[in-house]
């Protein structure tokens, strides 16, 4: 009675359905908990930041938070702005701005970047990612 083919295939069918429904329910249960642990996921992309022009002098740098990371705005020449991620592309330290030398200097392993983000020395493998900058009157918008 047990090994009748129709019975085995019915059993298989039943086991598969239970498995599929079980997996769907498990996924449905895990999803909210996964999202709970990732509160910022997906919300970072749209964000832009506006900085007042008075906050940044010529030849200086202004650090701010952008899309969850440290970022930096520089004004190498009057009216010319550039914004970068301030996260060193080597191992993730935050770069500093050296006004005398006009370079970004990473304190961790002496990585160096030019004011337009290119690597000019040390171990960093890639340039600093740059962000679009729009100037409207006194407002500088990044992103």
């Amino acid at each position: 009675m047990t090994s009748e083919p129709s019975l085995t295939s019915r059993r298989k069918m039943l086991a598969t359905s239970v498995g599929v429904i079980g997996a769907a329910l498990a996924a449905l249960t895990v999803w909210p908990f996964w999202r709970f642990l990732n509160p910022q996921a997906g919300s970072a992309q749209a964000q832009t930041v506006t900085i007042d022009r008075s906050q940044i002098e010529v030849g200086a740098a202004h650090f701010f938070e952008f899309r969850g990371h440290a970022a930096v705005l520089v004004q190498p020449a009057p009216g010319q702005f550039a914004a970068f991620s301030a996260v060193c592309t080597h191992l993730g330290c935050i770069v500093t701005w050296r006004a005398q030398e006009q370079i970004f200097f990473c304190p961790c392993h002496a990585g160096r970047f030019s004011p337009d983000g290119r690597v000019v020395g040390g171990p960093p493998p890639r340039p600093l990612p740059s962000y679009p900058v729009t100037v409207t009157g006194d407002q500088i918008r990044i992103g």
């Binding site: 909210p32 908990f33 999202r35 709970f36 642990l37 990732n38 509160p39």
Partner: protein, 366 residues
């Protein structure tokens, strides 16, 4: 040979898994007249696991500090994705857990499963019940809402009816004269660390006893006869009984599904049963909201304190009832377990249960 089979054989060779599974599943036999009430233990395991899991998740964002606790819970509710779900499951879950604990206790009480040789099992179980009540009481304060604050004030205040040391007891429970930051600190430590540890030890002891002694035979049916007390240890086996797997597991799953459905219904459609409007106002130590009442499972105790002429008498009656139930296996020692043949017990059971329900409803209405 499939991969699954090979992995299983590999484990079996090293740990004798096949043997363990057989002994605990297919060769684990249960009495033929077993009933649905025996599923409540497995249900409690599932519900408690859920409390532990949702509790640990809440802990990720909860801040145990009087300045920030309320805001952190609001953030869980409003900003963290599905935070409302985790919190409603935890808060509603605590009520369902207590409900199932009551049912489990009442059914083992009615079937006199606490009698020899299961006295220790009962003691462990009753202590688990008390610890669960303490977990609820301590958890209730954590959101630092008006409800939390004043329910805890009222609950700790009742210890003050103890003569001589009453004032000192309140002071000790609260860590100061009034509910405040020290109360939150100690309740938090108890709720997330102290009590769960004690709970785990007690639950381990309870399950060990259950498995070591074997489940009792329900005292019903024409061929039930009370066991004669033996002179040496004896595991109650039920030869010719029904296998735990798959027969009883299906019944377990059915009842678990029922209570999970109840939990989901509560969390999705009636969260206000666990969290009334006062739970959404931050605690204000200078303004008591009108009509503050404890949770439903404390209502009977609360009403008893109010109707007795003297609060101390109320505490004595409550302490007496708790001690009586805790030590019941050593008070009620005859071998007879059939309720029909135990009129005194049956009478007390009905009067006690009715009294509890009446006091609860009365406490709710007044």
């Amino acid at each position: 040979m499939g991969l699954k089979q090979r992995a299983f054989d590999w484990l079996d060779l090293r740990l004798g898994v096949r043997d363990i599974l057989q002994q605990n599943l297919t060769h684990y036999l249960l009495p033929r007249n077993i009933n649905v009430w025996y599923t409540l233990g497995a249900t409690l395991l599932v519900l408690f696991s859920l409390q532990f899991i949702t509790g640990i998740f809440l802990l990720v964002y909860y801040i145990p500090n009087t300045e920030q606790a309320f805001a952190s819970v609001q953030r869980i509710m409003n900003d963290i994705p599905y935070g409302w779900l985790v919190r409603f499951l935890h808060a509603t879950g605590s009520n369902v857990v207590i409900l199932v604990l009551f049912l489990h206790m009442l059914s083992t009480l009615y079937m006199a499963a606490y009698k020899r040789p299961r006295e220790i099992t009962w003691i462990f179980g009753f202590l688990i019940f008390l610890v669960s009540l303490a977990m609820s009481l301590t958890g209730y304060l954590l959101p630092w809402s008006q409800l939390s604050y004043w329910a805890t004030t009222v609950a700790t205040e009742s210890a003050g009816a103890t003569p001589v040391i009453g004032e000192a007891m309140i002071h000790f429970l609260r860590g100061g004269p009034a509910v405040g930051e020290f109360t939150l600190g100690r309740f938090f430590a108890l709720h997330v660390m102290g009590l769960p540890l004690i709970f785990a030890l007690l639950a381990g002891g309870h399950l060990f006893c259950v498995r070591r002694i074997g489940v009792s035979r329900p005292p019903f049916g024409p061929d039930y006869l009370p066991e004669a007390p033996g002179t040496s240890f004896h595991h109650t086996d039920h030869s010719g009984g029904i296998p735990f797997f798959p027969n009883y597991v299906v019944k377990d799953l059915m009842v678990i599904a029922f209570f999970l459905t109840l939990l989901a219904a509560g969390a999705f459609f009636a969260p206000q049963l666990s969290l009334p409007p006062e739970a959404f106002e931050p605690a204000d130590p200078f303004r008591t909201p009108p009509g503050i009442k404890p949770e439903w499972y404390f209502l009977a105790a609360y009403q008893l304190l109010r109707i007795l002429p003297n609060e101390f008498l109320g505490l004595v009656v409550q302490g007496g009832a708790v001690a009586f139930l805790l030590f019941l296996p050593f008070i009620d020692r005859g071998p007879e377990r059939r309720p029909g043949r135990r009129p005194l017990f049956l009478g007390l059971f009905i009067v006690g249960l009715a009294g509890f329900l009446i006091l609860t409803v009365w406490g709710y209405l007044s």
